[in-house]
Amino acid sequence: MAAPLRRSLPTLGRALLSPSPAPARMLSAAASDALVEIKPGEIGMVSGIPDEHLQRKVVIYSPARTASQQGSGKVGRWKINFVSTQKWENPLMGWTSTGDPYANVGEASLTFDSAESAKAFAEKHGWDYVVRKRHTPLLKPKSYAENFKWRGPPKAEQA
């Protein structure tokens, strides 16, 4: 259902949306025409993020399709899971409190078109990352006629 939208974008936009390893190349130190060379972890260091958050372990993964839904608009994106479980029930109101500034960042606000760009993002922040394999469906031939197919004479007659 996202397809018509995607196609109506101008060519430039399409180039942006198409999953390509370009961002990774851009960020690597070898990019010749980049204005600034960014070394791994450098962004994190100059950004004022506290040190303890620069040594985090993150998991890069591509969320699976919800089994109960057909829609594929959100399938194929890449997310960063900060493995944040620093949560507790606020004893006064029963709301959930967290001590982790990244608790609501990964799933909700970071989306990448490819594993490479997610990796590049993690690298420039200096996070230790693991990329999980994306499981994709396997299409197999199916046919409506299977339902009514003649399954041959009875076995007794065969013998």
Partner: protein
């Protein structure tokens, strides 16, 4: 009783009641609410905007939150319908009794949120049930 004495002292000292009583001369008593607060109005010979006032039933610890909502509108010139008229017009079964604001009147009178230690039915928000070693002794 010392308490009565104290209240009497207060109403004499702050002079508020006395002033109200003087003000009341020549004013119309528009109504009395269920708490006994008296509502006065004086249309002539008084500054417009100060022509409606209340004489609190509580002589000592009076405060504005003792005015029930039906009279609030009249008192603050939001409406010209008096509290009695409003009650007659929309008597709703679900309207709860007015309660004054008890802030500063003692912990037991104040609302505490569900998890607050002073809430008598303090709620435990723990979302799991821990294993109790005592059960094992019983079994």
């Amino acid at each position: 009783m010392p308490a009565t004495k104290a209240t009497c002292n207060k109403c004499i000292f702050d002079g508020n009641l006395l002033q109200t009583k003087i003000h009341n001369i020549g004013a119309t008593l528009v109504g009395v609410d269920k708490f006994g607060n008296k509502y006065y109005e004086k249309l002539h010979d008084t500054q417009y905007g100060r022509h409606r006032w209340v004489e609190y039933a509580e002589k000592g610890r009076y405060n504005a939150s003792q005015v029930p909502p039906e009279w609030h509108g009249w008192l603050h010139h939001i409406t010209d319908s008096t509290g009695d008229e409003l009650l007659e017009k929309n008597a709703k079964a679900y309207i709860v009794d007015h309660k004054e604001n008890f802030s500063g009147e003692g912990e037991e009178l104040i609302y505490h949120s569900k998890g607050h230690a002073l809430n008598p039915g303090q709620r435990d928000w723990t979302r799991y049930q821990p294993w109790e070693p005592k059960k094992e002794e019983a079994s």
